[in-house]
Symmetry: C2
Subunit: 432 residues, 2 copies
Amino acid sequence: MEITKAAQKTREASFKLAALDAKSKNSALSAIAEALRHNASLIVKANQEDLARAGRENLAAPLLKRLKFDELKIEAVCKGIETLITLAEPVGKTLSALELDKGLELFKVSCPIGVIGVIFESRPDALVQIATLCLKSGNAVLLKGGSEAQETNRVLAELIHKASIACGVPENWLYLLETREQVTQMLALDKYIDLIIPRGSNSFVKYIMDNTTIQVLGHADGICHIYVDEYANPEMAVDIIIDSKCQYVAVCNALETLLVHRAQARELLPVLKQALDERQVELRGCSETVKFIQVKQAAEIDWKTEYLDLILSIKIVDTIDQAIRHINNYGSHHTDAIVTDNKIQAALFLNLVDSADVFWNCSTRFSDGFRYGLGAEVGISTNKIHARGPVGIEGLLIYKWKLLGKGQLVADYSGKQARSFTHKKLNKECDV
Amino acid sequence: MEITKAAQKTREASFKLAALDAKSKNSALSAIAEALRHNASLIVKANQEDLARAGRENLAAPLLKRLKFDELKIEAVCKGIETLITLAEPVGKTLSALELDKGLELFKVSCPIGVIGVIFESRPDALVQIATLCLKSGNAVLLKGGSEAQETNRVLAELIHKASIACGVPENWLYLLETREQVTQMLALDKYIDLIIPRGSNSFVKYIMDNTTIQVLGHADGICHIYVDEYANPEMAVDIIIDSKCQYVAVCNALETLLVHRAQARELLPVLKQALDERQVELRGCSETVKFIQVKQAAEIDWKTEYLDLILSIKIVDTIDQAIRHINNYGSHHTDAIVTDNKIQAALFLNLVDSADVFWNCSTRFSDGFRYGLGAEVGISTNKIHARGPVGIEGLLIYKWKLLGKGQLVADYSGKQARSFTHKKLNKECDV
């Protein structure tokens, strides 16, 4: 009930926020940065409470590191906000303009989606980034951070809300959820929430996707493949495989399954095994792979597993077509790469593999909003509609159709004496 | 099981169809038109069976009219196919091109969504239109038409499939479902189907939306409003109201609730009542409305009802803000219009009303793909993501990211000696 009411208020705020001018939003963003800097000691104090509790609860070292939010990190998120201010206003852009008839003009105009529900990991920086990205794009937001960061998140959300409403942003545009139960309740509120963006473990994202009728933007699995083609340069292949598998092992764009054309197997596999042995990568090979190198035999489940660990499954294929079929069948439609010197093979792979990101001769790890030059990243989507792959601020936008007339009636465009539509492209912006 | 297998095969075909060149698709479209013309008597014969059965089952006259598919209608759909052929190829367009670094180029390229499930009404023309629109946009499709048109649909689907695969379109790209049970089974196949487009009654569309985790494009309700502002020209208001309510009463973009500023009520309502009485429109007014004209009193349920009939609910408001709140609260985010001579009020309304189509001084009935110049209409969407309002062929498209490198590794862009990204806009098309 409490969450329903909060979501309803957030929705009400969203209508006004959608119409807020660029200047007000940017001055609110400035005020938020100032409030964060000015209250740094308050934030750090709250964060130390979180860190102390996490210490008592024996949180793992990498998680503690992510949880820590000190003056340096505060300064970094404030710099991020300042970059956001310099971005062009994303709302109210005329995307197309068409004269339907003399004095009847149709404009397709960018606008925010409305109310976004974001569930994110333990880093408190994520709260600031998501909240300010939503503000810039005119979206109201329900936020749920990691419970480890609860004190820090509470202070941050309060500071952001207070600083922004002082600049004319509608009250209740941002609401902080604090329990998993509240998240479950939120999933039923399709009347008030337009889009859910879940970030976190695959099982959690899958749970969200399976338990809401609200649209979800994101990805559960990241089962990424590299296919070493018959025409590949084997040295390049080894380098790309090592980078894709080992550069950062616990992320969604890391390599999980390697497909090797039979013609490459005898030469490539022993060299590769040595290089991956040195990096403690466990190999699991298909029944053909084990004829070339001594590795554990892969089971059917291996082709469907996102290890997020120093494990790589390897399969030998006889044709590029077999490789593409394997990827489309077992992959998660995230990021898949081909290594080949043959452009025709590359084109075949890029056009037939049904994934958000299809790469030729480079590491799967490039699949990322920052590397793609998108600025702040909303998430990586394996959806097939709206937005795909790394998603920047444009993933938080949609459009509405504005039709400006002078009293026109459809009756005049129907029947025997019907007026015709001119459908003439206009070269102007919508000014209403 | 049968449907699962069919969907799986359709999905397999979709990968190849996505990569099919424009020439092959266009020659397949030509072949389809030829096959339909050449087999017109076969189609008409099947349709006569449907008509005879429908007659025995006492189908209503308007439905019989929609079901009828004669040589004239066959010729009309063939003309539609010929228009489709002349459209520019929608797949493979470079939407953006960015150099990430020397020799590492990122392209955002349009591509089909994949497998679409379309459930449509009794008109057999819809089958041809949807199938050919999917083919042009490179999407495979599962089709379910009205059961009244079963014989006609079967013949049409067979002719289309046969003519297209003879031109190199992958087998199984199109599959015809024949029962409601099969539709229910289809809703669970999120592994094979990327998007469902349901057309039909609100309760049916709502059922689909609530019973699948597949993305759905469409709309359930069309509760459209007109707000007659304090600064409206009352004569224009009456004309627009009559057109919006009466021009075609059973459609989603027809007017259901009228909001009248108090300052207009005394003059406008009696004139309006007389005009609507002449057209047999039943009026239901709020407790204020009944003080100005003698009408039945509206209940809470009226504000939430899509009548699709000669009934109009009327509410008097004191401010434009109250009108906007009513629309955002009770509306279906489809199409809403303001009548006013004041541009500031118009802008307020257009920017604060959270609907796909927001109109100033014209009939709500303009909300339609043909009138919007979109060509063939896929449907009208009240979603807040992907596509909104009338949706043309672009609603069947998404994009993939193609990254073309020369062996680049992410390791080289990390750490102390990190290379920087150039993120330089490129002015070229992706040629792979």
